[in-house]
Every structure is written in C-alpha cells, then in structure tokens.
C-alpha cells in the first residue's frame, strides 16, 4: 500500500469515529419559543404545558434529554388514553424535531466544521485510498485475495461493518432523535438546496449519494479497461446525484412535492398513497406531469425498455438501491448464496412482496376514488405494515445492513417488487440474454461466485445454455470475470433465446444433449 493510501485509511477511520461520536456531543436546552416553533399550531399550547417542566433545564446528553421528553410526553398521552379522551391525544412524534431544536453546543454552532471532520474526512480518506488503486497495473480482473479478506469474506471486519450499518439503519428509521446532531451538520446544505432545514432523510440521501459517488470511483479503478462497467457506473452515479438527490430538493425549493422521477411503483410503494396523489394533483402542471410520467413508466416504460434491454436498464443502470449495491456493495458481491434452496426462497419471497404491494395499492386506489367509503382509514394500517416490514426492515436494515453477510443484492433479489415485475418481463418477453460461447467453458466457477444475484451461471455455461433468468440484473460482472471469454450480455432476436436443450460445439461423434 502506498503511503498516501495508508493516510487515506487512517483519515477514513478518524472520519468514521468522529461521525460516530458526534451524536453524543453538546447539550440540550428547551424553552417555550423552541417548543412552539417545533410543533404544529394545534399542538402548541398542549406541548408547552406538557414540556414546561423541562424549560430552562440543561441536559448534558441527548439520552437524558430524550428520556425526559418521553417521560413527560408519554405520561400526558397515557392519562388522556386512560380517560378515553382520544381526540386530545397527540399522535405526532415530536421527539426528533424537539430534540433537534434544543441542541446547543459545538455541532449547532459549527455544523460545517463537523461535517468536514466526519463525512468530509471519510470521503477524503476514501478518495486518497481509491484513486491510486491499481495505478501502473495492467487492466484486468482485480479479485486477488478477496477470500482472504476479513472485510470481504465474512471475517470480523465484515461483521463489524454489517453490525454498524444495521445499527445506523435502526436509529435512522425508528430513533432519529438520537441522530439530531448529524442532521444539524447538513442543515446548511439542505437550506442551500431547498431553502428548508434538513430531516434525517436528507442526511440519509446525502450520505447515500456520496457513498455511490466515492465507491463508484472505486469501480472505475477496479474495472478499468471494461467499458461496460465504466459506463454503467457513470450512469448510476448520475441518476443518484441528479434525479434522487438534487432535483427533488430543487422541487421543494419551488414549493413542489419532493419527487424522485426515476423511482417507479411498486418500489416507490407510496406513489398511489393519498398524500402523494393529493400532492401531485395540487401541484399544477408539474404535479400532473409527475403523475402521468410515473404511470407511463409503470405501464409502458418498464415493459418496453425491458423488452429491448432486459431489466438491467433499471436495476444496474438507473435504480438507487441498485446503484448503492453496485458501488458500495461491490466488495461483497461474492457472498450471495448460489444454492437451489435460496433460489426457491427467492421466488416465493419476491413474488409474495409483489402481490402484497399490488393488493395494497389496489385497495388504496379504490378506496381513494370511492371517497374512503370502502375501507375508511383502514388502508393506513396496511401502509404501516408494509412500510415497516418491507420498506424499512427489508429494503433498509436487511437490504444494506446485510451486505457483508449475504451479499449486496439481498433486497433486490429477495424483496423488491419492482424487480419482480421487471423480472417477469425479462423472463417471458425480452430480447436480453447472456449468451454462452460454444464449448469454451472450463467450469471454473468465477462467474457463479461473483454473480451478486446468486445465479449459478456456470450451470448454464458449462452446458452451453443461454442464461435467461428473471433475477439477472445485467451487471455484466460474470462476463467480466470469466477467464475464457464465455459469457456475453446481448440483446438479440427472441428466436433461439431460450435453448433448453443446447448442443455444445466441438464433438462430432455424438450430439450430446444435456
């Protein structure tokens, strides 16, 4: 390792440590004005009464502050509930906004300094490590030592990384009040982009986008010489930065609803929820465009593009989840399970989620157009079950947190309903396939090992059969790592695409069909 790279690793570690301790810095103090500013008008009065005992007190840690807040807040609600005064109960969760507003101390005063020292140093360190990678080394496959690596082969480094990611997701989804200092750090950037303060989701989008960009640069180094990988990676970096991160913030700046144009239902499962529909319908021409464009993508875009190019046009070129998997997740692609058993589980799970999403959305839309006469607010229950189990746990905690345990596509393979939809089109009506090159396969196993979707590519290649699988995201890595040039991702005639009884070229004595 070059000295610069060592410094890079060091800076990354320092940055991560600062990022990790930042939430625990500073102290917290609440007053009446802050309470009023952080709560809805209708709750101002009640909240001020509830929290009055906290006013003026100095809490030296967020734990103390939050626990005190919860004590007062919960006991207020409990009393109302036991008195059956349902209409007075405050259902909104103010712990995040109140905690954020009460923070005093270094992070609040110097957010950009903390941002630079934490995320900034991590990025800088990452770049110092990544940019010199493979300098002066000829183009080629760079998989040396992967299975000796503690980070990439489920060693203790991988375990720690996975645990850290899981913990981060849990805090982010269910306990964001503990992360308020981190959110404060990115406030200036949020204000610059959209004019408003940051939420935990802005923080998440910010980290997410930089992860894709920095680890995307790593892809450029690792796969140098492979134009398919370079162009594909550029594409996911572009779509994340523009469509998923900057554009939605600009929409907010112009008082339009936050909207990611490339996110497609049913991955974007809330697309047909009441608040989203209302948001779009009430946003004039642009809102109508969002609605119509979104629906066109679902009914025409997905089948058409998938017909021509396979699901890869989305999964490994455009999608944000795919983007993270292909960049941050690339070091873990070899950890996906290749067994037939997991293929079975995959099919049940992913189609199960698709059915769930379709049924839920169907009920939601019907309910919406019947003016909520069908189910009243009952669809909200469904939404929160889906949001909790699928949207948060599956897509987030497991989807990313399990990278170091089960590979980088756990969500895409087992859970994503859009992937299921794209996959059905790819399997039954598409020009895309991976062609195998005659009899050249030596059954070495590189392709299967590095397939992030857990497809046993070799099983097809060694019998000369095209790979036509609904799960293949067309990342092209099987083709890249094959030492004998056996695999090629192609769009071509539908005729002969599926060859169940292939003939391996080379033996004229018998035409073995196996």
């Amino acid at each position: 390792m070059k000295i610069l790279q060592k410094i890079g690793v060091l800076l990354t570690i320092v940055g991560l440590v600062i990022f990790t301790v930042t939430p625990f810095l500073g102290s917290y103090q609440l007053d009446e004005a802050t309470t009023i500013a952080a709560t809805k008008d209708i709750h101002n009065e009640a909240m001020v009464e509830v929290l009055r005992p906290m006013f003026g007190k100095l809490y030296t840690s967020n734990f103390a502050f939050i626990s005190s807040f919860k004590d007062y807040f919960n006991s207020y609600n409990e009393t109302l509930k036991s008195n059956q005064e349902w209409d007075k109960v405050i259902w909104d969760d103010y712990s995040f906004s109140i905690t954020k507003a009460s923070s005093i101390g270094p992070v609040k005063e110097h957010p950009l300094i903390f941002l630079s020292l934490s995320i900034g140093l991590t990025i800088l360190g990452g770049l110092l490590y990544i940019l010199p990678l493979y300098r002066g080394v000829p183009d080629g496959i760079k998989n040396d030592g992967i299975f000796f690596s503690s980070m990439m082969a489920r060693g203790w480094l991988g375990m720690i990384t996975g645990a850290y990611l899981i913990l981060f997701y849990i805090l982010l989804y269910w306990f964001p009040e503990y992360l308020t200092n981190l959110v404060l750090m990115v406030d200036p950037i949020s204000i610059f982009l959209s004019g408003g303060p940051a939420s935990q989701w802005f923080l998440y989008g910010f980290i997410y986008s930089f992860a894709i960009v920095v680890m995307g640069l790593r892809m450029f180094r690792k796969y140098k010489g492979n134009n398919y990988q370079l162009i594909r990676t550029t594409s996911v970096m572009f779509f994340q930065l523009s469509f998923a991160f900057i554009l939605p913030e600009i929409l907010v700046l112009f008082n339009k609803p936050w909207h990611d144009f490339k996110n497609i239902w049913p991955l974007d499962y809330s697309f047909f929820y009441e608040y989203r529909l209302d948001g779009m319908i009430n946003s004039g021409a642009l809102g109508m465009f969002m609605l119509i464009f979104g629906i066109l993508l679902i009914v025409i875009g997905v089948p058409l593009f998938t017909y021509f190019y396979g699901k890869r046009w989305y999964c490994s070129w455009v999608c944000g989840c795919g983007g993270l998997a292909e960049t941050l997740g690339d070091p873990y692609r070899q950890l996906s399970d290749k067994s037939v058993k997991s293929w079975q589980i995959e099919r049940y799970l992913i189609h199960g989620v698709l059915v769930f999403a379709v049924v839920m959305t169907g009920l939601t839309i019907t309910n919406y157009f019947m003016g909520f006469e069908l189910l009243g607010q009952a669809t909200d229950q469904l939404h929160s079950i889906y949001g909790f189990a699928i949207g948060s746990i599956f897509a987030g905690v497991v989807g990313t947190g399990f990278y170091p345990f089960m590979g980088n596509r756990v969500w895409c393979r087992f859970g994503c309903p859009l992937a299921a939809y794209l996959g059905l089109v790819q399997r039954f009506k598409s020009r895309f396939r991976i062609t195998t090159n005659g009899g050249q396969c030596i059954s070495c196993g590189n392709c299967s090992t590095y397939c992030e979707m857990g497809i046993d590519v070799r099983w097809y290649a060694q019998r000369g059969q095209n790979i036509v699988r609904s799960s293949c995201v067309g990342c092209g890595v099987c083709s890249a790592v094959c030492p004998r040039g056996v695999l090629k991702l192609e769009n071509g005639d539908e005729e002969g695409r599926i060859n169940d009884m292939p003939i391996i070229i080379g033996n004229d004595s018998v035409k073995a069909k196996l």
């Binding site: 000829p138 030592g145 992967i146």
Partner: protein, 450 residues
C-alpha cells in the same frame, strides 16, 4: 444393452464425471460408482489457481452441489486404487478395501512431468496438478523470498500469476527462444512474453534447469541453470508438461504405452475396460493435426460424452472430434484458438496478422492457397466459437471472413470495435478491397444485427 450392471469409474475429473452423468441421463437403472483419492467431490482443476489467489474457495470450484450425486444416484467412493485385478474384475484400494465391477472406466488424468533433474525430489520442489499439490504449495510458499518456475507452458504462467498476486518474486525458466514457442508463432509468443514481463516476472528465455540445490536439510535452497547461474529460492515449480497418470496400472495386463492404449471407441485391450481423458493414448490420432494424447478439459469432456453414448446405445460410434479449439489466459490477456494453427507453415498457406498499437491484442488468421480459412489465434479479443467453427468447417474465403469479422466478436458491449482497423490493414497488406457496411444508429441502439 448389456446385462452387466455395475459401472465403476476411476477418476472424478471432467472426463469420468461427464461420462457418468451422460450414462445416467439415458440409463436410470445401472449402478454407477465414481472412485477418487483426490477429493470427495468433483471440482474444476482449471480453477486451482483461483483458490491460491483468493478469488474463490474450494467449494466454489465444485460444478455441482453436493446433493447432485445422490439425487442422480451416482455413488462416490473415496480412496486410492492401488491395483486392478482384471481377471477377477476387482479393484483393491490402498487401505485394503476391494470393489468389484462389471464394466470399468479408467479416467485417472495426468501427473506433472519430472525429467530426472538432480534434486527434483527435494522438499519445496513440485508440480501443480492436484488439490494435494495446491495444499503443499500453499504450505511451502507462505514465507519465501523467491520461487523459480521451470517450463513455459500454460500451467507455468498460471503459477507465475499465482505468485505475483502474493508479491512473491518469480524467476521463470523457459527452454524456448520465446514463450511457448512450440505452440505459438513468433509474434504471438512475443506478445505473451512482453505481457509476462509487464507483470514483473523475471522471464529467462533459452534457459534450462540443470540442477536443484539442497540446503542440507532436504529442502531446496537454489537452482542452477544451464548458463551456470545459481538462483537462490525456496520453491521450485515444475511445469514442463504432464503425462498420463498410469503407474499403478503398469504390468497388470492392461496395454499401456505413454498412456492407456485405446481405439476410437475408448476400448482398451481388455473387454469391458475403457479409458478416457488425459490418461488415454489413441492407437491412431483422432483426426488430422491431432495428437494421440489429448490433455485438455474439452477433450476430456468429449471423451466422456462419446463413451457414455456407446455404453448406452447399440449403435456404436467412433470418437470424432470437430474443429479443434482451446483457450487460456496469460495473466490479463485472454487467448482463444480455433482450428489447428502451427508455429510455422509452408508456401501452401498464408496468414494475416494484426496487433493493436499497445501490443496487447492480436489476431492471426491462417488460410490455405485457395484463401480458405484454416485456423485462428486471438489475443485480448473474445471470438464466437460458433462463428469460427462454421467458417472453418465450411472453408470460408478470406474476404468474406474479413467482412463478417464483427459478427465474430464476443467482446462485452461498449468495447472498442477494431474491425475497421483490421480490415484496413488486410486490404493494404494483401491488396484486397473489402468494404464494410456501417451499422445504422437503429441497429446500434436496439442491437438488431440483421
């Protein structure tokens, strides 16, 4: 079909395993047992290097899941066969066990050549063929300052690459004037040699091993070369080819020469005893330009397919391989060949050779006097097997081949297309006028070829 119902296959390599699988596809009844002492399950020998380099683990190199065998009722028996009694139709194992057969298939593979060099049996001197070899290589090379590789074939380059990934300095002794020049024409041989050096391998051409020196404890301490130079090292890799692994069959009544002697139906001199794969020597080469001993993965597979057919069908066929093909990888440069391309040729043939300006990509095409394509060597450019198989079989003319070369390309999408450059050179050099039609935007975007 014969009544005999216990087929025993010695050797769980590609040839034995392919044979077993294909028998089972046709005959669901016959009892099949595969015997091997090397590993419990079939693994891909060609992937040994990737285990050492950390690209894969042993389990990734197994082409079939462990339950595949029981599902297909193929019994696996682990152990080394010490002796075969062809009269009693029985195998005896090193541990004293016995196993009887009705029909026997010997698919015992190869072993690394040793040419009687002084010191060749010292600790730290070995070839690379089996899993055991890999394990001992792993043990022997954990802390060494230099490795010397003797013999410039495909396994030699693989070994050089293996060490390079672990930052172990390598000296590579090659007898020929250029790398693998008993197989490659000079331009290709030079291209490969350049690339090997680019990876900081100390490549010594026209140099042979004369002696391996003992450190006094029975371990290697250095080698002495034909030029008299002494190169200190703690490991010596012997990669000067392989030969059939048949020692345990000598003097057993089975006819052997360099390999187990078989006819085109893989029958040995003993009825109901067959042999396939690396260990076989044909009485008569299976085709023009082909050798009596074929030691590659693909031929092993085809042997297995063909024998399985004969064992399960009444109409017996001769082994008749199609157009020769092979492939390999020299560090980062992939190599494919279709048809038989010799190192030099006479007036009755002519060739066209193109190399890119970086000297890492090349194509050689060999034609006969009537312009018919005979063979090709390609470096750093993946080519469609089917394209060349057809072109060579049908004897396509040079101009047609050049014109259609783009269809042959099997490179990933977005790779630079060198077709025009190649054809320009061809037109210039050979005084031809092949014109290329450009792909329309529509074809480019939607991938329609026709």
């Amino acid at each position: 079909m014969e009544a005999s119902n216990q087929i025993v296959i010695v050797g769980n390599g590609i040839s034995g395993v392919t044979c077993a699988r294909h028998i089972r596809k046709v005959d669901s009844q016959v009892k099949i047992t595969i015997v091997s002492g090397e590993t419990d399950y079939f693994f891909s020998r060609t992937a040994l290097m990737y285990i050492y380099m950390g690209h894969m683990k042993y389990e990734h190199t197994k082409p079939y899941a462990d339950d595949f065998w029981s599902k297909n009722r193929i019994d696996l028996k682990s152990g080394w066969v010490k002796q075969v009694d062809f009269d009693l139709k029985s195998l005896s194992f090193e541990n004293g066990e016995k196993l009887s057969y009705d029909r026997l298939i010997l698919a015992t593979g190869s072993k690394p050549n040793k040419f009687g060099w002084p010191g060749q049996d010292l600790l730290g001197v070995q070839g690379l063929y089996s899993m055991q070899d890999l394990n001992s290589m792993e043990k022997r090379t954990s802390a060494i300052t230099r490795a010397v590789i003797v013999g410039g074939g495909l396994i030699g380059v693989e070994m050089a690459e293996m060490f390079a990934t672990r930052k172990i300095p390598v000296t590579f002794l090659v007898r020929g004037k250029c790398f693998w020049d008993n197989v490659l024409p000079p331009e290709e041989a030079q291209l490969v040699a350049r690339h090997i050096k680019e990876h900081h391998i100390d490549l010594r051409l026209s140099t042979e091993l004369s002696e391996i020196l003992d450190d006094g404890n029975g371990e290697v301490k250095a080698v002495k070369t034909s030029t008299g130079e002494i190169i200190p090292c703690e490991f010596v890799g012997l990669t000067a080819g392989v030969s059939p692994n048949i020692d345990f069959l000598k003097n057993s009544g089975l006819k052997t020469n360099r390999g187990i002697v078989v006819n085109k139906k893989f029958q040995t001199n003993i009825p109901e005893v067959y042999s396939i794969g690396d260990c076989v020597e044909f009485t008569e080469a299976p085709g023009p330009d082909r050798k009596n001993i074929e030691q590659v993965w693909y031929t092993g597979r085809m042997h297995g397919e063909t024998l399985a057919y004969n064992l399960t069908h009444d109409n017996q066929v001769d082994y008749k391989p199609g157009i020769w093909f092979n492939s390999a990888k020299f560090f980062d440069i992939e190599y494919q060949t279709y048809g038989f391309l010799p190192t030099s040729w006479g007036e009755d043939k002519w060739s066209f050779y193109w190399e890119d300006d970086k000297g890492k990509m090349a194509i050689r095409l060999l034609f006969d006097a009537e312009d018919r394509i005979l063979a090709t060597n390609v470096f750093g450019w993946r080519m469609r097997h089917e394209f060349f198989d057809t072109a060579i079989k049908e004897g396509w003319k040079a101009d047609r081949l050049m014109k259609q070369l783009r269809e042959a390309s099997f490179n990933p999408e977005f790779y630079k297309d060198y077709h025009m450059e190649v054809v320009n050179k061809y037109n210039q050099e050979k005084g031809r006028d092949v014109q290329l039609s450009k792909k329309s935007i529509f074809q480019k975007i939607f991938g329609y070829n026709s």
